[in-house]
């Protein structure tokens, strides 16, 4: 019954995935497991195939070889068990906030009144009450990403895939987002897969950090900053363990940065 | 599109259409569509004739003079509009009006004012081409990055230096874009002018051919005209790309 235990422990498993673009090997025999209910960051220098890996998990790209399992089922395309948060938000500019948030449900054929009441709840959760009928161009970058987050939450998928979600917002908003994300991970029993290029961000928010090195991409190291997780958001950034991990990751990445 | 792994060149489908034309022509579906091969034979037989040479040189003359004056007038006016707010506010409404106005309607006025000849056709060509050149030059100057302007000030560039070394180059992609569209419009203008004042250039040639139902001749001239227009527009698009490489990175 080892397999059962395994299924409970990991929500997503990536097995020997390779991805080639023509002659270019973007990913080579990459294997990685994502524990259920935790946040795993994928961290690496630009061009290391982080986003490619995330899109393969999402089912938006298919791997050249290897496979991805979500809850024990092989991924063949996008599915209701995963939701995606996009780096550039991917909001419909012609649709109001509430329609954008409810768009995932709309595509699943949920009735209008029902999907709007669900959307309403998540708009409130992400702190955008009162903006239901605003349009994306009337919102700041940070608020737009809150809409993208609410959209992903409202379809109630067990796995949330986030592609550098905070890279297009300013530093202060970003910090607020990171703190909100930590409480979100605690509240929701979801599995988060979080792609980032910021070392500090990864250490701050993650239960597990997978470091990807480029050409061709492979997982070089998995770090679990368990010691700092329960110290409270206000204390993490000055915790010696936090600083040590940040330094250690930088030391292993610096030679790959141009 | 790819066939058997080979990328077909962009315009290659025109060959297919040419083939279709040939077949329709051979089947004798209508008197108005002679086989393409016949059209090309006619083309080679008339290309050196005095009537054709006269038509094309008259057209080229009107076109070159008209478009050159449009550029000579349009670029400086546009740049001045981009630099001076007063001038901009005074002229912009008119530029916008004439940009979208059906200028064809002005041809009768030009005919009574400037006669049924070359002068009117040149003016029509200029009128067709000039507005978009003005508008694009203006837009080019207005979008120049503030920090480029400030950089010029910081390093003590004289107004003349700033203009010739920075503003002109920074606005060049837009200016060239305007010139390209202006030239395409000029081609249309010169033909519309000749159609309405049908004693000059291709206008006269068309009258002659349609009076005698010379379909092969007609199509031959159309092919020459379309091919020339397309070549000119592609050549300018190529030039624009040569300069445009930095347009997106300013």
């Amino acid at each position: 019954m080892r397999d059962d235990e395994h299924d409970v422990e990991y929500a997503v498993s990536v097995r020997d995935v390779s991805k080639n673009y023509g002659d270019v090997e973007a990913l080579k025999d990459l294997s990685l497991d994502f524990p259920r209910g935790q946040l795993t960051s994928i961290l690496g220098p630009s061009g290391c195939g982080k986003t490619t890996l995330l899109k393969i998990i999402a089912g938006l790209l298919s791997p050249t070889s290897g496979e991805v399992e979500v809850n024990g089922k092989t991924v063949t395309g996008p599915g209701p068990d995963r939701a995606f948060v996009f780096q550039d938000f991917a909001l419909l500019p012609w649709a109001s906030v509430i329609r954008n948030v409810a768009f995932g449900l709309e595509l699943r054929g949920v009735a209008k009144s029902e999907r709007e009441s669900i959307a309403q709840k998540y708009i409130k959760n992400v702190g955008l009450s009162g903006f239901e009928n605003s349009f994306p161009h009337e919102l700041s970058g940070g608020m737009r990403q809150r809409v993208g987050l609410a959209r992903a939450l409202s379809v109630d998928a067990q796995v949330l895939l986030m592609d550098e979600p905070f890279s297009a917002v300013d530093e202060q908003t970003r910090r607020k987002f990171q703190e909100d994300l930590l409480s979100l991970v605690q509240q929701e029993s979801k599995t988060f897969i979080f792609v980032t290029h910021s070392i500090e961000e990864a250490v701050f928010v993650s239960d597990q950090i997978a470091i990807l090195l480029p050409r061709p991409s492979r997982v070089s190291e998995i770090i679990k900053p368990t010691g700092i997780r329960n110290k409270g958001t206000d204390n993490i950034r000055r915790d010696p363990e936090y600083l040590d991990i940040v330094d250690r990751i930088w030391a292993s990445l610096r030679s790959y940065v141009e | 599109m790819k066939v058997l792994g080979y990328r077909l060149p962009g315009m290659s489908s025109l060959l297919l259409w040419g083939l279709l034309w040939e077949i329709v022509g051979r089947l004798d579906v209508t008197f108005f569509i002679p086989p393409l091969s016949e059209v090309f034979q006619t083309l080679f037989s008339i290309i050196g004739t005095p009537a054709f040479v006269k038509a094309i040189s008259e057209t080229a003359y009107a076109f070159v003079v008209g478009v050159t004056s449009a550029i000579v007038i349009g670029v400086p006016v546009g740049i001045l509009m981009g630099k001076s707010r007063l001038l901009d506010e005074l002229l912009l409404p008119w530029v916008n009006i004439f940009l979208s106005a059906p200028l064809t309607a002005l041809v009768p006025v030009l005919m009574v004012l400037f006669g049924f000849g070359m002068k009117s056709i040149i003016i029509i060509t200029t009128l067709f081409a000039v507005w978009i050149i003005i508008l694009n030059s203006r837009a080019g100057v207005m979008q120049i990055n503030r920090s480029l302007v400030e950089m010029a000030h910081c390093f003590g560039a004289s107004p003349m230096d700033a203009f010739t070394k920075i503003y002109f180059w920074a606005a060049l992609p837009e200016i060239l874009g305007g010139v390209r569209i202006g030239v395409i419009r000029g081609v249309k203008g010169v033909i519309i002018g000749q159609l309405l004042i049908s004693i000059v250039g291709f206008g006269a040639l068309f009258e002659l051919y349609s009076a005698n139902f010379l379909m092969g001749h007609f199509w031959a001239v159309l092919i020459v005209l379309f091919a020339l227009a397309f070549t000119i527009s592609e050549f300018l698009a190529y030039l624009e790309r040569r300069v445009g490489y930095y347009a997106s990175k300013r």
């Binding site: 012609w94 | 599109m1 025109l14 519309i192 159609l195 068309f206 001239v221 592609e234």
Partner: protein, 253 residues
């Protein structure tokens, strides 16, 4: 000054019309009436009702032609934008049409379809259609990739993607294409009235020129230009209102 833009617009109108008036009074040419003469001729044409019957005639081929071009043009544009095969097959034709002086086809159209309404409608169509097709296909092809990815990630079907993402995302540029098509259609409609048979406004222009009633001729030309500009302005306003916050550049002129 708060009303500066309005004031300057009025000022520039006064300068231009004033220059017209003065040039007419000198006169620069026997065929150059003053601004006021032309405007009073326009008033007469309007009071007599001549101008309304003329426009009813002129707008017929324009409206029919624009409707045909819009339906066909958007259809072909969507088709070529979505399918690489049809793009390869059809786009070159419209690219050449866009660059070519299509007015040269008019004598041919007259030979084939005579001098009736059909020819005039076709003139409007060949002028208006290329820009509508090219704008539509370009807009469809340039749908932002992340929006399409988002649609797929949230389990949209191909049909959902087309109806809820691709077409709405393309609609500002499709609409702009329609506006440019209308602009080209005006050129076609007037050209066909001047070249094919003088009817409607073309008739007023041609007739008053033949009897040397220049004020009426200028009045008719003035009115058609004003009408076209006002209508296109209206379309632009509708466009701006409809696609607020969703404005991207035009694909082509």
């Amino acid at each position: 000054m708060r009303n500066r833009p309005l004031f300057l617009k009025l000022l520039s109108a006064v300068i231009v019309f004033g220059a017209w008036e003065i040039a007419g009074r000198i006169p620069v040419s026997y065929a150059f009436p003053t601004f006021l003469e032309s405007m009073s001729a326009l008033a007469t044409l309007t009071l007599e009702g001549t101008i309304f019957t003329a426009y009813a005639e002129t707008l017929k081929p324009l409206v029919v032609g624009i409707i045909i071009s819009a339906v066909l043009g958007i259809g072909i544009g969507l088709w070529t934008g979505l399918s690489a095969k049809f793009d390869w097959l059809f786009s070159p034709i419209f690219v050449v049409m866009q660059a070519a002086p299509l007015a040269a086809l008019i004598p041919l159209l007259i030979m084939v379809y005579g001098i009736g309404l059909t020819s005039k409608v076709l003139v409007v169509c060949i002028m208006a259609m290329p820009v509508i097709v090219l704008n539509t296909s370009g807009a469809v092809r340039n749908t932002p990739d992340t929006l399409k990815e988002m649609g797929r990630a949230f389990l949209g079907t191909e049909r959902d993607l087309l109806l809820k993402i691709v077409i709405p995302a393309a609609s500002p540029i499709i609409f702009a294409g329609l506006r440019l098509g209308v602009s080209a259609g005006f050129i076609g409609a007037i050209l066909s009235e001047l070249k094919i048979t003088p009817t409607g406004v073309g008739d007023i222009i041609t007739y008053s020129r033949s009897i040397a009633d220049y004020p009426s001729m200028y009045a008719a030309i003035f009115s058609i230009i004003v009408l076209a500009v006002l209508f296109l302005n209206l379309l632009e306003r509708v466009e701006r209102h409809l696609f607020k916050g969703n404005i991207r550049g035009y694909v082509s002129d």
